[in-house]
């Protein structure tokens, strides 16, 4: 695969949507007009524990990492959501695709947090304020579904959930984003980084809990306090990590945004022993080729946006169909579906000698996307969930209630059997 030159940018815009997954889930289930409720998302790795917690639930003492039973004990009205990481990845991929329209240098860090390299964009947009506005506009237009009306939020439309920070290097832009109000931006102009960072709390540094505790025990509360100490003293206490922290706090480190080059088109081909005209066989071959192309290691971390099927026919003719996926995906069935529809609507005019599937455009994913949506198993999980959702909706439509239940552990350690598990209505 040929790679485009290294994509890097010293100036950065940080786009941050706190509680991204919870917002996605709440937006999907929102019912206009219903009162705000405390909500929490269950952990994808351990469904007995909470992953993300809404501000109202946090106010009631509920914290991420708590068990469901602890959380219910603190907040009886807590609304629990089952996680759907594939959906969150899809939503985040939309956001990244929107950011890629502003700059080719986009670095996703985690769900809801991405950096945009802005070097050289002045010529297109003007001052940093204009670049930030262009980013906000693109995000607003991308159709991201993270609005939140049912679980409480100060934010009622997608763009207002996003905080943007601009500065030299990723750290300054991240701190600026954390200082921005929802829907607004904070710009740190070159030369004033040290002054800006001086009063910021230590918590903005990438600290492990132990280092954070030790710094606080030393009486250090702000980046200014840390930067005021001699660099050597910090290094002697905290080693290499200390040097990095000190330099970040002093505004001396500007880590660039590193973009990822988009993969070149990925192609999978199949030559038939004898020309094939049966549509069922061709549809099956399309499935196999899509699956093979998805397994290509270059595709890892990317979702397919444009897929194409080409066929060489008997007597030198050819056949070509192309589909642009509205929601980029790594799910075999969803990639193959439009090709198979076209195969039914406009089949090849002769028998096929050679069939090829080609992915020609991609939407970026995240590190978590690779973790959660790793191809076959994630696609299977997403497929099962969709099937279950559809059946549950049909039951609910016919019987007015879902009549489906989900077993959760409440107090699995209890000596009283009836306290260990409970049923809750299953509403996918």
């Amino acid at each position: 695969m040929t790679r485009t030159p290294h994509l890097a940018s010293a100036s950065a815009a940080c786009c941050w949507i706190p509680l991204f997954a919870l917002r996605c889930e709440a937006a999907r289930r929102s019912e206009p007009g219903s009162p705000p409720q405390p909500g929490a998302l269950l952990s994808p790795e351990d469904p007995r524990r909470l992953w993300q917690v809404s501000p109202l639930a946090r106010h009631a003492g509920v914290k991420p990492g708590m068990t469901v039973s602890q959380a219910i004990g603190l907040c009886a009205a807590l609304k629990l959501y089952e996680p759907d990481p594939v959906h969150y990845d899809e939503q985040f991929a939309r956001l990244l695709a929107a950011l890629a329209h502003v700059s080719p240098v986009v670095e996703p860090t985690e769900l809801g947090l991405a950096y945009v390299g802005t070097d050289g964009l002045e010529g297109l947009y003007g001052a940093p304020q204009r670049i930030v506005e262009a980013i906000q506009l693109r995000i607003a237009e991308c159709g991201l579904r993270i609005g939140n009306s049912r679980v409480e939020s100060a934010i009622h439309n997608p763009q207002s959930a996003i905080r943007v920070g601009w500065g030299r290097g990723k750290f300054v832009s991240w701190v600026a984003a954390t200082r921005a109000r929802p829907g607004e931006a904070v710009i740190v102009h070159p030369g004033v980084e040290g002054k800006f960072l001086f009063f910021q709390p230590l918590a903005v540094l990438p600290l492990d809990p132990d280092t954070h505790r030790r710094l606080r025990q030393l009486g250090l509360k702000t980046l200014g306090h840390l930067a005021a100490l001699p660099e050597d003293a910090i290094v002697s206490q905290f080693g290499r990590t200390g040097r990095r922290l000190w330099r970040l706090a002093a505004g001396l480190t500007a880590e660039p945004v590193i973009g990822r080059p988009t993969p070149e088109p990925i192609t999978a081909t199949l030559t038939f022993f004898s020309p094939v005209a049966e549509r069922e066989m061709l549809a099956h071959a399309l499935d196999q080729l899509v699956a093979r192309a998805l397994r290509d290691p270059r595709r890892s971390g990317w979702r397919v946006q444009v897929v194409r099927a080409r066929a060489e026919l008997e007597h030198g003719a050819s056949w070509l169909v192309e589909a642009t996926l509205k929601d980029p995906t790594a799910d075999r069935e969803r990639v193959a579906a439009p090709l198979k529809t076209r195969l039914e609507q406009a089949p090849p005019v002769g028998a096929v000698e050679r069939l090829a599937v080609e992915f020609t455009a991609f939407a970026p994913g995240t590190a978590e996307l690779q973790l959660f949506a790793r191809d076959a198993s994630a696609a299977a999980r997403a497929g099962r969930r969709r099937a279950l959702t559809s059946v549950a909706q049909e039951i609910k439509l016919r019987l007015k209630r879902s009549y489906l239940y989900h077993v959760i552990e409440v107090q699995p350690w209890s000596r009283l059997p009836e306290r260990r598990y409970a049923l809750i209505d299953y509403e996918p």
Binding site: K79, Y81, Y405, E418
Partner: protein, 82 residues
């Protein structure tokens, strides 16, 4: 999902029990007790509504496997799935 719609699973059900000379069940809802397994006692939640129970693992006539629970505070008998 909403926590106010939580339903406990395997909640004990009240039963009529006929006791033998040893104070252990011999008939449960007109079905004879065929055999008994383990017997254990649980004393819990002394800090709120104290729970004092005796559990008797039982096979009823016909082979049904149940756990009988004697509430040692009220003397009532309950049945639960093992």
């Amino acid at each position: 999902m909403k926590t106010d719609r939580l339903r406990a699973i395997n909640t004990p059900r009240r039963v009529e029990v006929e006791l033998g000379a040893a104070g252990l069940p011999v008939m449960v809802e007109r079905r004879a007790v065929e055999s008994m397994g383990e017997i254990w006692r649980i004393d819990d939640e002394w800090w709120r509504a104290p729970i004092h129970r005796r559990y008797v693992e039982t096979i009823l006539e016909g082979g049904k496997h149940v756990v009988l629970i004697e509430d040692l505070t009220t003397g009532e008998w309950w049945v639960q799935k093992p």
